[in-house]
């Protein structure tokens, strides 16, 4: 299926509004975390900084709830991309 640019909600992963609505309906999703895991919307390099609000708005429409009722999806560290090389050298923070 050809994806039209203006339908794309998550630009990093190229996920369309239709894919997101489809997954919410098929699996009765209620959280942004679940949408992220199943459709990959929010899993891209920007970690949802660009698309998270749009995804939450879609969930709120589909589930008839206010956006404020929907838990924000968990941003798992690192919030900004870090090179593996750098992680390998990272200073000990815990004992």
């Amino acid at each position: 299926m050809h994806k039209r640019v203006h339908d794309i909600i998550c630009r990093c992963e190229e996920i369309t509004e239709r894919e997101i609505r489809g997954a919410i309906r098929q699996f009765n999703l209620r959280t942004a975390d679940e949408v992220k895991r199943l459709t990959r919307a929010g899993m891209g390099l920007c970690q949802g900084r660009t698309c998270a609000l749009l995804v939450e708005k879609i969930i709120s429409e589909e589930t008839n709830r206010k956006v404020s009722e929907i838990f924000p999806s968990s941003t798992r560290p690192p919030v900004r991309p870090i090179k593996i090389e750098f992680l390998a050298k990272k200073e000990e923070k815990e004992s």
């Binding site: 679940e34 895991r37 199943l38 991309p81 870090i82 090179k83 593996i84 090389e85 390998a88 815990e94």
Partner: protein, 393 residues
């Protein structure tokens, strides 16, 4: 509000949802209770989704084989693509001294009927140029594969729901009521559900459910941490690569605990999976830290360092997420517990899958459904009986 079910499944992870699906397929009325807002927020949503068949030993191997068999057609069966791919696996070593162990591993696997071959370092790099110069040899196996664990979890739930299973989310099981021999109902923070059977599929939390019926289930959370990278072009030959140290860290708890090497004590041995999207997940680690799912920089550092030795190309790649999950680990023998109790006689345990629960989910669901509806199972599960913990209960 009071409700009625034939079977109440506690836990909406990959095991609970598989059990629900296979029961529903037999016409059983199931209610799945999950304390989180959605499914797959436990170990099932925090793993690498791989099955390297060569890492399985009897008796678990006897379950892994038929489970893989189910995976081959699972997407078709449940009407949803779970991204299963028959990638095979490569276990390799960066330590000359491990060479004899690798040879022994090959012999053992062949005796178990798994087709493996030992490949020398130079030849490995010809076949897979991403492998580092430190890699001395590797063992390839072609039956294993990878799958998307979220999709398996939600796929089973989707298929079960179509067959009438109900999912009660954001409900925590608080109490289990019983008469002398049987459970009569399950009480959550919102309702009471009368039921003929209870299946405990609460993963790392299974011992808490056990307590509610007065038994001690020897399962505790064994934490694993993961680094996820950005996308890379797909590897040519192997997308599931493991460090030979894994044979120790995953299966020999005593050796891990008395090791001199701080990395081994944290259970760090490389497990690298490249998803069909191109992202790599870099594991694995194993430690006990109660129920915390925090990542620790010490473990992440070892994981990253080790990964860079096996696949130097990963050094300049960005990690985009770090996370940890809790494996349901049986601290007596590391084996799953698939069992129906004598008392209460309608209590069934399906947990303890440790680092193999994604692989074993389909066969677990199938066998537990047989245990409940037919009283006997198509594959023997005697090795996984609860009665093996005699001294404990």
């Amino acid at each position: 509000m009071n409700r009625i079910a034939d079977v109440v499944v506690v836990g909406g992870g990959i095991i609970g949802c598989s059990v629900a699906y296979y029961l529903a397929k037999k016409g059983v009325k199931v209610i799945v209770i999950e304390k989180k807002k959605g499914l797959s927020f436990g170990a099932s949503g925090a793993n690498q989704g791989g099955c390297a068949l060569q890492l399985f030993h009897p008796p678990i191997l006897e379950l892994a084989r038929p489970s893989l068999e189910i995976y081959r057609n699972l997407s078709q069966e449940i009407g949803y693509d779970v991204d299963y791919e028959n990638t095979g696996s490569l276990v390799c070593s960066v330590d000359e001294e491990q060479y004899p162990d690798m040879q022994k591993h090959v012999e053992k696997k062949r005796r178990q009927g798994i087709n493996v071959q030992l490949i020398e370092g130079d030849r490995l790099r010809e076949l897979e140029p991403t492998l580092g110069g430190d890699v001395v040899a590797g063992v390839e196996e072609q039956e294993g594969g990878i799958m998307n664990p979220f999709k398996v979890n939600y796929g089973f739930a989707y298929a079960a729901r179509k067959l009438g299973t109900e999912f009660f989310l954001s409900r925590e099981v608080k109490k289990i009521e019983r008469d002398k021999n049987r459970i009569t109902s399950v009480v959550t923070d919102r309702e009471k559900i009368g039921t003929n059977f209870v299946v405990n599929a609460a993963g790392a939390w299974a011992s808490q459910i056990g307590k509610m019926v007065g038994i001690s289930i020897p399962v505790r959370p064994r934490r694993g941490q993961i680094i996820v990278t950005e996308r890379l072009p797909l590897n040519k030959r192997w997308r599931y690569i493991l460090d030979a140290d894994y044979l120790t860290t995953a299966f020999d708890l005593a050796a891990v605990e008395k090791s001199e090497d701080p990395r081994i004590r944290l259970g760090v041995a490389g497990s690298y999976v490249q998803e069909n999207t191109g992202n790599w997940t870099i594991g694995s680690s194993r430690d006990f830290a109660d129920y915390t799912t925090r990542v620790t920089m010490q473990t992440i550092r070892y994981l990253a360092k080790r990964a860079a030795r096996f696949m130097p190309k990963l050094k300049s790649v960005n990690s985009i997420r770090l996370f940890a999950g809790l494996r349901p680990f049986c601290y007596v023998d590391g084996l799953p517990i698939l069992s129906r109790l004598n008392s209460p006689r309608n209590f069934v345990i399906a947990t303890g899958h440790a680092g193999e629960g994604v692989t074993l989910a389909p066969i677990t669901g199938k066998l537990i459904s047989e245990l409940i509806t037919e009283k006997t199972t198509s594959i023997s599960i005697d090795a996984f009986a609860f009665s093996r913990f005699k001294g404990l209960n």
